[in-house]
Amino acid sequence: MSTKYVDSVSSVESTAHSENYINAKKGLMSWIVTLDHKRIGVMYLGSILFAFMLGGLMALLVRLELIAPGRTIMGPKTYNQVFTLHGAIMVFLFIIPSIPAALGNFMLPILLGAKDVAFPRLNLASYYIYVVGAIFCVASLLMGAADTGWTFYTPYSTTTGTSVVSMTLGAFILGFSSIFTGLNFIATIHKLRAPGMTWGKMPLFCWGMYATSVIQVIATPVLGITLLLLIMEKVLGVGIFDAKLGGDPVLYQHFFWFYSHPAVYIMILPGMAIISEIIPVFSHKTIFGYRAIALSSVAIAIIGFLVWGHHMFTSGQSELAGMIFSFLTFLVAIPSGIKVFNWVATMYKGSISLNTPMLYALAFLFLFTIGGLTGLFLGTLSVDVHLHDTYFVVAHFHYVMMGGTVIAFFGGLHYWWPKITGRMYSESLAKIACALTFIGFNVTFLTQFVLGSRGMPRRYYNYVDQFQPLHAFSTVGSWILGLGFLLMAFYLLASLKTGKKASDNPWGGVTFEWQTPSPPPEHNFNYVPVATHGPYEYKS
């Protein structure tokens, strides 16, 4: 156990126990202008869960429409707007900020043993920029939402009448929120580690956040310039991306995917970071291959910049470019594989307790393995030509983004819920919700692999009759999935009121956050934490 350097007076600790970051200051203003990374994390958590509900609603509408060919509940134009909003809200408003900005903001400084992030004011600014960006996206929803898909491909996006400018402006602003979070975390990890915490003693969550922040800082500006060029293309008709005016639509795709593929690693790396925290604690065993997992996070971050062309194998790209991108895509698959092997190896000869966070971690391993392996189909040139832009791709990225990041996010939420709120949630309800989510997810998306292989194209409002049974099956799955999340919302909110008090260390973890009261005091620790050993060293 990490020795407390300054033996704080026990009386102080007990009084401090009741005084924590939530009740340290009262009143709405104390939340609105807070500089405390924990409060900003909680505010982010509330906002992204709201965005998740909104995006999830859109998803249920899409699936409901597709239960039968032809018109079910909405016309083609509305359907296109709903699936565009589903994509844009889920990507820009939920999944990119979810783990880094919500859980990361709360946990990173504590895991490092720091009092706060490096630039607290920048952290608050990042949240308010997120809110402004969200307002622009929701405003676009009200003024005839964009119907271009979350990729805004030109020349369709520059010629459609819907409010593409408002949505792209929203995404442009959200980009800055993401940059500031990344910038903040890199400075924090470099400069604010506790005394004695070398890079080798840092918890793997911080390694994951570090790799994610590197991508956020380097890739997001290119999204900014891409959306700026798109807005100028639409407003001034500059003609860079519109073939009729002499531009090149494939150039837009290069610009867009140069950001968007690293963006999918911004999504998955934090998920992996959480899994690297959960599995050792619930197997009561030190992580297997710490160095391999840490370095593969950074490797994924770097190689992630080389592979964007695999989104464009059939876009009229030259065969040479296709070959290069296909080869590099396979290289980036290796670090992900190494991580999965290391997690499974960690469980070998451990003492595994199946609490809810561990259940989510196991679900992550199951779903992410399928997601990763189906990526091999899409990385292979000849098979991708058949599968590109079909439901196979939809299933693949849902398995990796939802089965991976969202499941890991909820695993992390359950893992740190006692620390964030000081309350325990009902374990039995949580297990049911996890089972529902797992079953609903597989029913919804396993069928879509088959749909895609049989040639069902993506973003189709109406489809030929032979696909109807699979679509209906997938829609039923989405209801089960929706039910699972509803149940989770219920018992988590209920736990705020009726949950029993959480102890400092409910799961027996050895990283810093379990040695401070839950919820933690305003300056995270009542003593100066010193890292004397690795993050997962258990006394066997």
Binding site: I338, M347, S353, S382, V383, V385, H386, R454
Partner: protein, 314 residues
Amino acid sequence: MNMFLLAPFMPLQGSEYAKSVDLLYEFIFWLGVVFFIGIVGSMAYFVFKYKRVGEPRNIPQFSHNFALEVTWSVIPLIIVIVIFFWGFDSYMSNRIAPNDSLEIKVYAKKWQWEFEYPDGTRTLGEFHVPKDKPVKLIMSSDDVIHSFFLPTMRQKMDVLPGRYTTLWFQPTVEGKHQVFCTEYCGDGHSEMMAELTVDSQDKYKEWIENGGLDKDTPLDQLGARLYKSRNCNTCHSIDGTRIQGPTFKGIWGRTERITGGTTVVVDENYVRESVMDPNAKVVEGYERGVMPTYKGLLKDREVNAIIEYMKTLK
């Protein structure tokens, strides 16, 4: 040997190339199953075997094993490189069309495909090709990016405005094959389908001789088929609801007010004129310049067929 276990997963194998793609698809699939069982199986086994009972005591705390980690890095690396080369090889073999292939020009425009044969025959929404002969499609778009997808031939290529992209296949199975548009292109994206019919050599010759017409089908049935295949249904409904153009239901013989005050009776001449020159007499309340001209796209017999079909729509 091609016992293709995953047949229900994939559409009909319409060409030899389709078979080679399916072989690679199957290889990756079974490889995935092996890895999946390995990972999830051992995970499940560990959860079952090392279930925590009471307080965890004397748990071995080994943290890495260099040899194991190297093996499970190198082996997947070799496997993925093999998959890469196999995929790249079959991709390249299918990118360069043989010289003697039948070149068909394909024009994509918002929500319909138009085909133009070397001898000038033009069809809309359907095209015929001879069996066992390479066919090369030279495609370009008139407005936004579309994508020509032939599932049964495992072929897909985006269709870009302002330049040509090509795609070729050699069909071996006769019959009708579905064509989809797979690059999102607006409201009618899911309607933008076409139909490839693979005929035997002589049947194709006969089809191409009389400019892609069906001799025997009665006019109103042909009209009904053309109503769908020529995409009239995208703008003109037959159940009375208004889309972008007036509905065909009960239109025959009705007098319509034309923008500019004059009126006209919907008869053969008006329909023929509106098909060939849509902006001549536009019914009041409808926009000009929306309906594309069908001049050169519909043979006289086909226009008569549509007229007969409209007569049946009471």
